[in-house]
């Protein structure tokens, strides 16, 4: 019984972190029909920057997201203005190619600058736990989970309650209508892409504490994140949250009661099953066009 409870708690905690990492991916797809395969590379890039900041200034890695989030917002904005904008209006598969190129570029740059070695930020709490009776709550995961919920809530508020969020949603639903009332399509898309990239600020910071990483680690993450948003319904923020929690649980329970071999396969099995039986994903029908409602 303790084993089961522990497994469920671990699964939910890791699911929260997965949700945070997937939120930027689903946001960018929902608004712009862009599948940003480079999101995983953004995470690793942020993890690397976080590690560097932690190593050289001693700043807490998770707090460092105060620095990395605006940094990624800026980087996302520049990337959109200079690169992504060129494929506006093309099919989503073009965006896969382009952002995959971006991911390879980021990986290559990290290889040259940071070296092909594993890094991990290890603040004092990285391998410690809160204990409640026999149950362990790993501190880094708890902090990660809380940060994830905070970021998701902020994202939700930004998209539904601010002018910027309304502009983003308006231009995704009806670009010409939005343009007529003064919403610039390109500048809004740049904001949306920047917002999506900025979520990797917190995600990457947490990643640097949770797992050792090296430049090519992004392949593991992007494939997992795609599984999550396919399950949740591509473009749906609540879908990403539910998908992430379900898959976090499924991974942990499979590892505990099934076989370790199947635990990481769960993500891909889910992609197959969703495509076969419910191609729009769990939250896909209602929320296809609108990311936050």
């Amino acid at each position: 019984m303790t084993e089961l409870l522990q497994a469920v708690i671990l699964g939910l905690l890791i699911g929260g972190v997965y949700a945070l990492m997937a939120s930027g991916l689903t946001l960018v797809f929902g608004v712009m029909n862009i599948i940003n395969v480079a999101q995983g590379a953004f995470l690793i890039f942020v993890a690397m920057v976080t590690w560097w900041l932690w190593k050289h200034t001693g700043i807490d890695p998770i707090l460092a997201s105060v620095i990395t989030t605006p940094m990624m917002f800026g980087l996302g904005w520049v990337l959109y203005r200079t690169v992504i904008v060129r494929i506006r209006g093309s099919s989503p598969s073009m965006s896969v190619l382009l952002t995959f190129g971006l991911a390879l570029t980021i990986e290559g740059i990290l290889n040259i600058t940071a070296g092909n070695k594993f890094k991990s930020a290890t603040p004092s709490y990285f391998e410690e736990s809160f204990r409640v009776g026999d149950i362990s709550l790993p501190k880094s995961q708890v902090y990660g989970f809380l940060a994830a919920m905070l970021v998701l809530a902020v994202l939700y508020v930004v998209l539904t309650r601010t002018w910027m969020g309304r502009a983003i949603r308006a231009s995704s639903q009806n670009p010409s209508g939005a343009a007529l009332v003064g919403v610039g399509a390109t500048s809004t898309a740049a904001l949306a892409f920047a917002l999506g990239a900025s979520t990797s600020g917190v995600g990457g910071s947490i990643l640097s504490v949770l797992y050792p990483f090296f430049p090519a680690s992004h392949y593991d993450w992007i494939s997992r994140l795609l599984g999550i948003i396919v399950l949740g319904g591509m473009g749906s923020l609540p879908g990403a949250l539910v998908g992430a929690l379900v898959l976090g649980l499924a991974e942990t329970l499979t590892a505990t009661y099934g076989s370790l071999r199947w635990a990481t396969l769960v993500f891909y099995v889910v992609i197959l099953a969703v495509l076969l039986f419910r191609p729009q994903g769990l939250f896909g029908t209602r929320l296809r066009e609108d990311v936050a409602v």
Binding site: E3, V37, L97, L104, F118, S223, A255
Partner: protein, 434 residues
């Protein structure tokens, strides 16, 4: 690329794994164009072998002994291939400074095979049949040594390889092949089993868990250890294989916590080893002994990853250690540091150095470069190297032992076999996590 055949325990996360992952991920993304893009990107690194001119043929007393080597200096194995090159180079420089071999200077003719099986075959064929080098030395990884050793066998060249311990290397009945490491994968944990045997029966671990990554260099080690320990009466309570992209080790730790094994022996490449140690601490379970295959040998990266205090008592086995008290080892470490910015040699460099030592001893003992005499001598004799004494079965399999190492007070100590040990103390049982 098949992962069936490459090299054990690369000291740094090598590029080859990166590339497998890239391939797998892309398949999953299901975008064929992406795969094409990746191939294009990966192909960019290859460069043709640089062959210098010239046939150094007949062996006069004042002409150098030419040794032909093809190495993966670019491509997937470029990182370990580069280390092997350094190892060979340091050996040649040391030998030449000391008057050469049989009074003749040594000249290395190293070409690049770009980590490609076809190129390595072409390289060695050219070295043996056109350049007519006096001797050859092996390349890096089983993948490349497999076809390269066949070229050597056909041309009657002794082939001492610094890497390439996959079991199928030795099932072909080759006579000219010699693997210059102390043991093939299934025997790499024997020295740890010997240690367990040396404990009084009531002190031995009674139960054991064997999680291992699905990797050609960790699985045979762990599976063979499991068999040997079961024969000793150690009960197996957990034995599972996990895929390379596993990141979540908390669930494994949770399972282990409930099974309470005395010994946890993990087939860990790197980040999985770090992940399990962290998770065991997070879940609050300390086994009496913790063994991991190669993760703990990546000295700095491992202690950074798990936290220096958490390394205490972790066992691993390795072909070489910079502190091991084997003949010429300190000189090798010093010469390597002098040549390469005070860096510590990687295991791959040490293995290459040892392969060259093997060939050198045989040439000196047979007083010439007659391949058949060298081959017969190596089959009949034991050779002292920086890895310890090496000797071979008729198939070229080494008959020795790996080194048993243990993290103690934040440092690596060699604790077995006794004649190589740098510390008398062995930390057992493992103290609880700090």
């Amino acid at each position: 690329m098949t992962d069936q055949m490459s090299h054990p325990a690369p000291p740094q996360p090598p590029r080859l794994r990166t590339t497998w992952r890239a391939g797998r991920r892309l398949a999953l993304l299901g975008t064929a164009t992406c795969a094409a893009l990746l191939l294009a990107a990966c192909g960019g690194g290859s460069a043709p072998g640089s062959s210098g001119g010239g046939g150094d043929s007949a062996a006069a007393k004042d002409t150098p002994i030419t040794i032909g080597i093809s190495l993966p200096l670019t491509g997937d194995f470029s990182q370990p291939g580069g280390e092997a090159k350094r190892g060979y180079q340091v050996w040649a420089d040391m030998v030449n400074a000391d008057g050469g071999v049989l009074g003749r200077q040594v000249k290395l003719k190293i070409v690049d095979d770009a980590s490609n099986q076809d190129t390595v075959v072409a390289d060695y064929t050219k070295l043996m049949t056109q350049d007519k080098v006096d001797l050859v030395l092996g390349t890096f990884s089983s993948l490349l040594n497999f076809p390269a050793s066949a070229v050597a066998e056909k041309n009657g060249y002794v082939f001492v390889e610094p890497a390439g311990g996959a079991p199928n290397m030795f099932s072909r009945g080759f006579e000219y092949l010699f693997f210059a490491q102390p043991a093939t994968a299934p025997h790499q944990a024997d020295v740890f089993v010997d240690y367990v045997k040396s404990l009084p029966a009531d002190k031995r671990p009674q139960t054991a868990a064997y999680p291992t990554q699905d990797d050609p260099f960790t699985r045979p080690v762990i599976e063979s250890m499991q068999k040997q320990l079961e024969a000793l009466g150690v009960k197996t309570v957990f034995s599972q294989v996990y895929p390379a992209d596993t990141t979540n080790f908390q669930s494994i730790a949770n399972t282990l916590k409930n099974k309470k094994p005395d010994l946890i022996a993990q087939g860990a490449v790197f980040e999985d080893g770090v992940g399990l140690v962290r998770s065991l601490k997070q879940l609050g379970y300390t086994p009496k002994a913790l063994f991991q295959t190669s993760a703990p040998s990546n000295a700095g990266q491992y202690s950074d990853g798990v936290g220096a205090a958490n390394t205490e008592g972790v066992f691993y086995t390795v072909s070489w250690n910079e502190q091991a008290k084997t003949p010429l080892n300190p000189e090798f470490v010093a010469a390597y540091g002098k040549a390469y910015d005070a860096a510590l040699p990687a295991e791959d460099a040490a293995d290459a150095f040892a392969a060259a030592q093997v060939l050198q001893k045989a040439v000196e003992a047979t007083k010439g470069v007659d391949q058949d005499k060298i081959k017969d001598w190596l089959h009949a004799n034991e050779v002292q190297t920086i890895l310890g004494p090496l000797s071979w079965s008729a198939k070229g399999e080494p008959q020795g032992d790996f080194i048993l190492a243990q993290w103690q007070s934040g440092k690596v100590q060699v604790v077995g076999p006794a004649d190589a040990a740098t510390s008398e103390t062995i930390v057992y049982p493992k103290p609880p996590w700090s």
